[in-house]
Amino acid sequence: MQRIGVFVCWCGSNIAGTVDVKAVAEALRSEPGVVFSTDYQYMCSQAGQEIIKEAIKEHKLTGVVVCSCSPRMHEATFRKTAQAAGLNPYMVEIANIREQCSWIHKDMETGTQKAIILGRAAVAKVNLNAPLIPGQTPVTKRALVIGGGIAGIQTALDIAEAGFPVDIVEKKPTIGGKMAQIDKTFPTLDCAACILTPKMVDVAQNENIRIFSYSEVQEVKGFVGNFNVKIKKKARFVKEDVCTGCGICTEKCPQKKVPNEFNLGMDNRRAVYIPFAQAVPKVATIDADYCTMLKTGKCGLCAKVCTAGAIDYTQKDEIIEEQYGAIVAATGFNPISLDKFDEYAYNQSKDVITSLEFERLTNAAGPTAGKLLRPSDGKHPHTIVFVQCVGSRCAACADKGKEYCSKICCMYTAKHAMLTRDKYPDTDVYVFYIDVRTPGKNFDEFYRRAVEEYGVHYIKGMVGKVSPQGDKLMVQASDLLANKQLHIEADLVVLAAAIEPDKSARSIATMLTASMDTNDFFTEAHPKLRPVESPTAGVFLSGTCQGPKDIPETVSQASAAAAKVIGLLAKDKLTSNPCVAHADELMCNGCSSCANVCPYGAISYIDKEFRMPNRTTAIRRVASVNPAVCQGCGACTVACPSGAMDLNGFESAQIIAEVDAICR
């Protein structure tokens, strides 16, 4: 039986004005378990807290009920008070007799009666309270960043700068991501490589950062502060620590017909390659799908020319196991496939290209050395049509486009149009748009400059069909403001393809037990207040894996994620909220209902041996809640058919006791 003390607060006249506090204290004195009951003007004041402390000691109280303002206001205060007097803080319950009683009722009789019932419910609950002790877990002071694009790079640099070791896992042979493929950045028109590559070098030189390039995360176990991750380092058949990146092998390799993915297949590379000149790590990689030596055992030319002796045809995939305290997803994006949009003839003409391909065509390191030439015949295009929202804002059918706005297309198209007119003033440039969306610093000014200073023709309307005819592309479109149908003879059509999360994101989210939305973007713990955290503790989000965003936004989110990671790694131990779920193993069926509803992946299953009748034993599957991961929502407690799952601080029996007390 508990020994409960009841403390009724006047809150000046806030409560005492419509509640007879003395009568409440008196009435609650006769409730089961109550051994002491009093009232005071301001319980939250120093003097009020002293009354509680003294009563705890003097009456050997095991539980405390404070009838006062909302627990959202002073629950923490009174718990600290109790703790100071040697009582477990979770033995304190608040009856909210201000916000939910005195402030809404005018009549003393009514207010007093309700306050007594609310107090009674709190007493009934405390009778069933048990001391709770917050769990503590150590923190591994190392972070993992999945994805080595600008988001991953920025996050890793910021974490490393704070003094914590970071590993970047990148599935491609080099870090850099999409930004490395981009020519210039809006709205300042800096060269992307000029601002990105120094950062890539910083990453390479930072002692706190390790890069696992050409690698993939294979398995994630554990929880916040204690993740155990398996990373598969794919065989690149080149010893990373020996290769000097001189590139001689990539010049001598006789297999010249490999589509160059860095240039989106618009030119070819060799079977042994370094994706681009500023690659980090600057190490060659042999493409096993094309290498003659690996396929037939005949050739070996690269090994012969490599003076460093870095080529190793026998290399195998390697599994690295490492512990991390925090994981950042920075898995990035890709343009969608345009197979379902062939009214724009992307599959029918080489001169219909995506915006990312356009970036490569205008990049000095691209397939045309920066000259804007048509992929079909290498001629300079004189009329270029840009089409916006190809697959974005598309809600017609699920397997076609994306319902969301891809956010970046309006601005990069303005950039493309402007740069084209700047470099080739003899070119006519048309942009078909539904809306031009330019929220961002200096963004609208930039777009207006494209129109006003560079003479780009912006037409409100959409392209309906692109018909390749001879070496021309007949573009049929609407001009809604003029109420006309236009027919433009174009040389090049550039499609602003919607962007979507990288395909690897879903499997990574599954490994991390991080949730995703229907579009496969990672969901944040709170869309406004916790935008860089996943609901899964210890997992953070950086860049476009969370939603479409441009470079400045990506970088700021990347730094924000880093700040969160640093905050976590700076702790020696994690103290967790003790109001978490727990399973009674004797009652648990092991049915997985609880794990299925858990938004945090806090529940796992273990096989446990139980004693059965007649001195036999049986192994049963039972649920086990990781208190460091559980956030205490209670979804599992209702999903559990046997009632094995319960929630500390909000036990079923406690809630039923409150119900009974109220209905009495």
Binding site: E343, C389, R393, A395, A396, I434, G461, M462, Q476, Q485
Partner: protein, 130 residues
């Protein structure tokens, strides 16, 4: 303006099964329409004018009989609005009235050529005549 013709409007929406509010006004229907040049009101205008209840002009327009029912606007609309169905629903609103048939059976023989498949006659009659 939005209350005018409210009955006709809701009848057209019900009959066509089209929800014009889904339109984001990109104009792709009009961009893709092969009958653009013969139409006074274009597919996007049909959608917008039905949505805003401005249906009289559509009912009085010859555009109703120029739609080829080729469904290009239906297939290419990014929002699944299906403008062709609206054109049809407005047309029915007109030709279902007594004596309002756009094409009369007795006028057909003059139009028919020797090789014309009867498919064309039946289709036209279905479209223009009730």
């Amino acid at each position: 303006m939005h209350n005018k013709n409210d009955n006709v409007r809701s009848e057209i929406i019900r009959r066509s099964g089209v929800n014009p509010v889904k339109c984001m006004r990109c104009g792709k229907c009009t961009a893709t329409c092969p009958a653009f040049d013969t139409m006074e009101y274009h597919p996007h205008q049909f959608v917008y004018m039905v949505e805003s209840g401005d249906i009289e002009p559509l009912m009085n327009s010859n555009s109703l009989y120029q739609c080829l029912t080729c469904f290009a606007c239906v297939d290419r609309c990014p929002r699944g609005v299906e403008p062709a169905k609206l054109v049809e629903a407005v047309r029915l609103e007109v030709i279902r009235k007594q004596g309002a048939n756009h094409m009369k059976p007795d006028s057909i023989p003059a139009m028919v050529e020797e090789d014309l498949p009867q498919q064309a006659i039946v289709s036209a009659l279905r479209k223009y005549h009730k």
